[in-house]
């Protein structure tokens, strides 16, 4: 009798355990609250959902299946900005929709990832950033829009960055180089090997203070630490938009440049030439000496951030092309700009691009 009760009790417990497990599995796997059939949504709704995903989640979504990868065509991707510095980062997109991923050796893991970005903990930040970009590129097709290199953080790793970069991209549209005391040879190596197509910004104080050989393919050049720049160097450049700061070029030098443009001896494709003034007080007397001009009023809101010190000086080239020369008062000091009146000129100041 006792044996019968023990058997009966054991069987009852086993059956109840089995049923509870089945019930649990059913709840987990088939509960409507647990899952969401995304692919049964309309195309418009799927696109809206995918456009809201951040790049990490989007990459993981594309890795789910071939049908997910086919859906990648419905989302437009903007270009990426790669910033090589102590904490390297990638910024994808522009404006409110932009998203960044940064790598650091120590991250407070309790801090939640922000909606517009994420910080990843890594013992090899540079390698992880490169790997992430390769993922982003292969599954999302995001190309590189601009590259920013902080040389002080990557002393001795220039060739590694350049060779990696050359393995994934033919050219850079927009290149910025920063550094306090890099070697001139390293910067020149970058300029020779990273093919820059459009805009180049150099903000470096090299130890040697030697001139850089600038690729002629670019349209816009902005040199911030220009103490080594000479008039001959400026005259040798064949770039349509140039901006220089911290140079020792005198008003006589600037006068020579303006006269050369007016006489059509150089820079016939000039769109903008901007240079710091060592002596703004005698700019008109010296820089505009022997140059016929009419005074005018600066085009309002041409450069919204720039405050013009006085009215503009309207000059005319030998072929009739007119240009304005305006002196602006900027936080870093006075600068003089000459910009021909071109119908489709990009009127954005060079240093604000």
């Amino acid at each position: 009798m006792l044996w019968f009760f023990v058997c009966w009790f054991t069987i009852a417990i086993v059956i109840s355990l089995v049923y509870s497990q089945i019930g649990y599995l059913f709840c987990v796997l088939y509960s409507p609250q647990a899952r969401f059939p995304l692919l049964k949504l309309d195309y418009v709704a799927i696109r809206e959902v995918l456009s809201t995903l951040d790049p990490h989640d989007y990459i993981n979504f594309l890795k789910v299946s071939k049908s997910c990868r086919r859906l990648s065509t419905i989302k437009k991707h903007s270009k990426a900005r790669l910033i090589f510095k102590n904490f390297p980062r990638i910024i994808i997109g522009n404006g409110p929709g932009k998203y960044y991923v940064m790598w650091a050796q120590k991250v407070d893991t309790r801090a939640p990832c922000k909606q517009q970005g994420c910080i990843k903990c890594s013992q090899n930040c540079l390698n992880d950033m490169k790997k992430f970009y390769q993922d982003v590129r292969s599954v999302m097709g995001v190309e590189i829009g601009s590259v920013v290199l902080h040389m002080d953080d990557f002393q001795g790793r220039c060739s590694e960055i350049v060779s990696w970069f050359r393995s994934i991209s033919q050219e850079v549209v927009d290149l910025s180089i920063y550094g306090k005391n890099p070697r001139h040879g390293d910067i020149q190596y970058l300029l020779d090997n990273l093919k820059c197509r459009d805009r180049l910004r150099i903000d470096v104080n090299t130890i040697e203070q030697l001139p850089f050989k600038i690729p002629e393919s670019i349209n816009t050049l902005f040199i911030i630490q220009g103490s080594w720049i000479t008039l001959d160097y400026v005259m040798s450049l064949k770039i349509s938009r140039m901006s220089f700061r911290n140079t020792y070029l005198t008003n006589q030098d600037i006068n020579a440049f303006y006269k050369s443009w007016i006489e059509m001896e150089s820079h016939q494709n000039l769109e903008c030439f901007e240079i710091n003034l060592i002596n703004p007080a005698n700019f008109v007397a010296v820089a505009l000496r022997d140059i016929p001009y009419k005074t005018g009023t600066p085009i309002p809101k041409l450069f919204p951030d720039y405050a013009a010190i006085r009215g503009s000086f309207e000059v005319t080239r030998k072929d009739g092309q007119e240009a304005s020369i305006v002196v602006f008062d900027l936080p870093e000091g006075a600068v003089a700009s000459i910009y021909p009146w071109l119908p489709l000129i990009n009127t954005e100041p060079i240093d604000r691009q």
Partner: protein, 188 residues
């Protein structure tokens, strides 16, 4: 009637300091329209609230639907569940004439409800609400692995997709063969 707008008028009174002549003008009563879902329960919604739905707004303006016609024949949305339509109507009423906030915390947390809501909102073309709902759908997979995303969003594996494709082809082949046999029978 399950509307919160019954019998009220939201026409803004004219400001006497800036437009004294319009202050004397009689207030234009707000017009109302009627919609019903699968459960046939009719919801009364103001024209202002319906502005959110590009579909209904288009029906009203393009088809010249008057309030009387609308009362007699409520807009039928047979493909939308009654409770979902109620949610949509409530949202439209709450956000009538107001700038939409960046986040909306009143959306359903249950995934089944959210799925039906996305379908309905997409059908009714309510862009702002669709954006909120889709943000919530995207948040379901925040920080999840590909396998977890597959689970949550019920995405078939490549093998399952291939099997389904084969099955569909087989079925289409059988149907085509059946049609050919039937056509041959008719010819005889």
């Amino acid at each position: 009637m399950s509307s919160t707008e019954q019998g009220t008028s939201s026409a803004a009174p004219a400001e006497p300091t800036t437009a004294p002549e319009s202050a004397a003008a009689p207030e234009v009563p707000e017009s109302f329209y009627y919609v019903h879902g699968k459960d046939k329960v009719v919801h009364k919604v103001s024209a202002g609230a319906l502005q959110h739905s590009a579909l209904i707004h288009g029906m009203i303006s393009n088809l010249g639907y008057t309030e009387e016609q609308a009362k007699a024949n409520p807009f039928p949305f047979e493909n939308i569940d009654g409770d979902i339509l109620q949610m949509v109507v409530d949202w439209c009423n709450q956000h009538k004439g107001k700038p939409t906030p960046p986040e909306d915390t009143n959306l359903p947390k249950q995934k089944e409800k959210l799925f039906d809501l996305v379908l309905a909102v997409n059908y009714l073309e309510i862009k702002e609400l669709l954006t909120y709902c889709c943000k919530q759908v995207a948040m379901m997979v925040k920080g999840k692995s590909p396998e977890e995303i597959r689970e949550i969003w019920m995405i078939p594996t490549d093998a399952e997709d291939e099997a389904a494709e084969k099955e569909a082809k087989k079925r289409a082949g059988k149907e085509a063969a059946g049609e050919t046999a039937a056509a041959a029978g008719d010819a005889k």
